[in-house]
């Protein structure tokens, strides 16, 4: 009797705490909608990057984003490695040579420019962070090397219970946010005070973003398919998806290796566990079998 009273009280207390906390949760966050979930090819256990999409995404980065955003940790050679945009070594060599890279000092002690090589990283658009900030209204545009892993959003404070699980889990917040942000520009609400040089973006925390809308429909011309039409629509929505997928690859170039190895490791461990279970059962049979002492009164099956 006493125990039942106690456990009921405890449950009630816990429930009360949770409910009490609920109103606070509603005020949390910065308002604004949660980015939509895009159906990424690279999501899930068998997820794979879409090579054509990564190539388009790189095109968007190169023609649009790279004017302001550096990608200092990514090398030209990465574009040719397996599990990525899969450009040929020759294409990468030619691409690298179109960039001027600072090198030196030479024998005379001077720095000099030379054509890029596959081993070089993408040259940044500004010589340093101060220059980048000065040219962009006081705030340096963030580097894009790992941005897809460096951005996330909260859908609510209890999703951590399920987001890691197989099948129903969710780990593509980064690219979803990037796609949403590119498509999130709109006119501010009437009573919203937008400072000079600010732009209203419904997905950006606080809604005031220094970056103007970066891209417009039709701005990047995609390669044509056999019928002479672009394979995918040349819209901001599609540009956003492509560049977000590319940035996910740039942030996690070994993702496909990782998932493939994981599948094999987990399969092995499951078989191993099965074998060990029967080994254990056989060994314990010598002493009359194993009985768990977790709740002995529940195990009186003899």
């Amino acid at each position: 009797m006493m125990t039942r009273v106690l456990s009921t009280t405890a449950a009630a207390a816990l429930a009360g705490l949770l409910i009490g906390a609920a109103p606070a949760r509603a005020q949390e966050g910065h308002g604004g909608p949660v980015p939509a979930r895009v159906n990424w090819s690279f999501a899930g256990v068998f997820g794979r990057f879409d090579t054509a999409q990564l190539q388009r995404g790189f095109q968007v980065y190169k023609e649009v984003c790279s004017a302001c955003h550096s990608m200092k940790l990514v090398s030209f050679r990465n574009l040719a490695q397996e599990g990525g945009p899969d450009f040929s070594a020759g294409q990468v060599k030619a691409l690298a040579a179109t960039y001027q890279v600072k090198d030196g000092p030479n024998d005379a002690g001077d720095m000099f420019d030379r054509p890029g090589r596959p081993a070089d990283t993408f040259p940044p658009p500004f010589p340093n962070d101060q220059a980048a900030a000065a040219a962009n209204g006081g705030k340096a545009p963030p580097d894009f090397s790992v941005i897809a892993k460096a951005r996330t959003f909260s859908r609510g404070s209890l999703y951590f219970l399920t987001d890691w699980l197989p099948l129903i889990g969710y780990s593509e917040q980064g690219p979803d946010y990037i796609h949403a942000l590119i498509n999130g520009y709109e006119d501010p609400p009437k009573d919203f005070a937008l400072p000079d040089g600010g732009h209203y973006n419904k997905y950006y925390p606080g809604h005031i973003i220094a970056m103007p809308p970066p891209i417009t429909d039709g701005q990047v011309t995609y390669p044509k398919g056999e019928n002479g039409q672009p394979v995918v629509p040349e819209t901001v929505d599609q540009y956003g998806k492509d560049v977000a997928a590319f940035l996910m690859w740039a942030a996690e170039p070994h993702m496909m290796d990782r998932k493939a190895l994981g599948f094999r490791v987990i399969l092995f461990l499951m078989i191993m566990s099965g074998l060990l279970y029967y080994v254990k059962k056989k060994i314990w049979a010598d002493v009359g079998g194993e009985v768990h002492g977790l709740q002995p009164e529940l195990h009186k099956t003899f």
Partner: protein, 428 residues
């Protein structure tokens, strides 16, 4: 390492020669082969082995990562990314190390839960238990130091916040802080020395683990019934019975580890730590790693800086006093109907504190954290002493064997060779 007199007899002449000079084979034999374990141990008792496995995994992956890591404010972030991008299997090493830390804490929390639920902290295992608390403290220090090493935003601001906590210590706080920093703020010397300390502490953990296992082999294991070993029929030899169970449980736990490592490698981390450290911008939501959240909630539940710090450290230190705060002679909660209810409330309050620690410190969250903090301490300081005095425990089984088979029943096969079983309580 064992209280049992060794029954190991070397067979070959070489083995005899060596054993007469360094009886290490006998030590291993008596500690990990002949050592008698209660036959009613459940899967909670496999987490010691799982923890040992993770200490090994962390040390090995850590040593290998250190071959590529660069402990400097300018080089750390890029060297971690170089490991992720360019080093063969570097991503595997780093994700294994980062997620291994989390798995280590999951396992240690299960291990601690088991100790508290089954009363493993009570006499004669007080020293064994306190050594466990020491290991836990060392693990927390190691994990904190390790989390600063990638030198991302969370690393930098975590280091800033925690070192500012130490500044709350009266009189010497500022000096300790400056000595930790090696400068006037968190910077290059800080990450350099944190790396050194992060490399040092695991070996100290390993040393205390040896003491922990030694103490375990002197007192023998507790068990789900919480009653002492009475005869050889209560026990089975460690090898093969406990060994095979430990290996099986470790293998199953590795599936969970692999799931996070390969499919959710960043779930247990923070996105902000993929932004290089920037002393001019603090992340919007600064929270520690999940395993510190209950203590972080306690820290924030108190409106005074020093008070919060004292309470947070007390929350860990109070664990060490459990053997004397608990007045009940009964070990296992299975036979303590009243205390068991309070115990589950304690677990609930701790889990809730963990969740609250991840929420912003405002409104109802703070109040909830204060209520949970109050119960956390009340559980140790009021419930534990009083329950033992007023509670009527359920009838204990006559022996460990009886707890498994029911009274008066026989099982086939004798667990231990005669004479080996009484050994754990006698120092050899």
């Amino acid at each position: 390492m064992s209280g049992t007199a060794s029954t190991y007899v070397p067979k070959s002449r070489v083995a005899k020669w060596f054993e007469a000079r360094l009886p290490i084979a006998g030590l291993v034999h008596s500690s990990f082969i002949a050592y008698p374990v209660p036959r009613n141990l459940n899967y909670f008792w496999t987490f010691g082995a799982i923890l040992a496995a993770f200490l090994g995994i962390q040390i090995i992956t850590g040593v290998w990562l250190a071959m590529h890591y660069e402990p400097s404010a300018t080089g750390a972030f890029n060297s971690v990314e170089k490991i992720m991008r360019d080093v063969n299997y570097g991503w595997l090493l780093r994700y294994a190390h980062a997620n291994g830390a989390s798995m280590f804490f999951i396992a240690v929390y299960v291990h601690m839960f088991r100790a508290l639920y089954y009363g493993s902290y009570k006499a004669p295992r007080e020293v064994l238990y306190i050594l466990g608390v020491v290991i836990y403290l060392l693990m927390m220090a190691t994990a904190f130091l390790g989390y600063t090493l990638p030198w991302g935003q969370m690393s930098f601001w975590g280091a800033t916040v925690i070192t500012n906590i130490l500044a709350a210590i009266p009189v010497v706080g500022d000096t300790i802080q400056t000595l930790l920093w090696g400068g006037y703020s968190v910077g290059n010397p800080t990450v350099n020395r944190f790396f050194s300390l992060h490399y040092l502490l695991p070996w100290m953990i390993a040393g205390v683990v040896v003491l922990h296992v030694w103490a375990l082999h002197v007192t023998g294991q507790n068990n789900p019934a919480g009653i002492p070993i009475k005869s050889g029929k209560d026990t089975v030899p460690f090898t093969p019975y406990a060994t095979v169970k430990d290996v099986f449980a470790t293998c199953v736990f590795m599936i969970l580890f692999s799931w996070f490592l390969f499919y959710q490698p960043n779930f247990l981390g923070h996105a902000d730590n993929y932004i290089a450290a920037n002393p001019a911008v603090t992340p919007a939501h600064i929270v520690p790693e999940w395993y510190f959240l209950p203590f972080y909630a306690i820290l924030r539940a108190v409106p005074s800086k020093l008070g919060g710090v004292i309470l947070m450290f007390s929350a860990v230190i109070i664990l060490a006093f459990a053997p004397w705060l608990d007045t009940s002679r009964i070990r296992s909660c299975n036979y303590r109907p009243i205390y068991r209810q309070f115990f589950w409330v304690f677990i609930g309050a701790t889990l809730l504190l963990g969740w609250l620690g991840s929420q912003p410190p405002e409104g109802g969250y703070v109040l909830a954290a204060q209520i949970c903090t109050a119960y956390y301490f009340a559980h140790f300081l009021i419930v534990m002493p009083l329950c033992g005095l007023f509670e009527t425990p359920k009838a204990l089984p006559g022996s460990i064997l009886e707890s498994v088979t029911g009274p008066g029943k026989q099982v086939s096969g004798s667990g231990m060779p005669a004479g080996a079983a009484a050994a754990p309580t006698t120092q050899g």
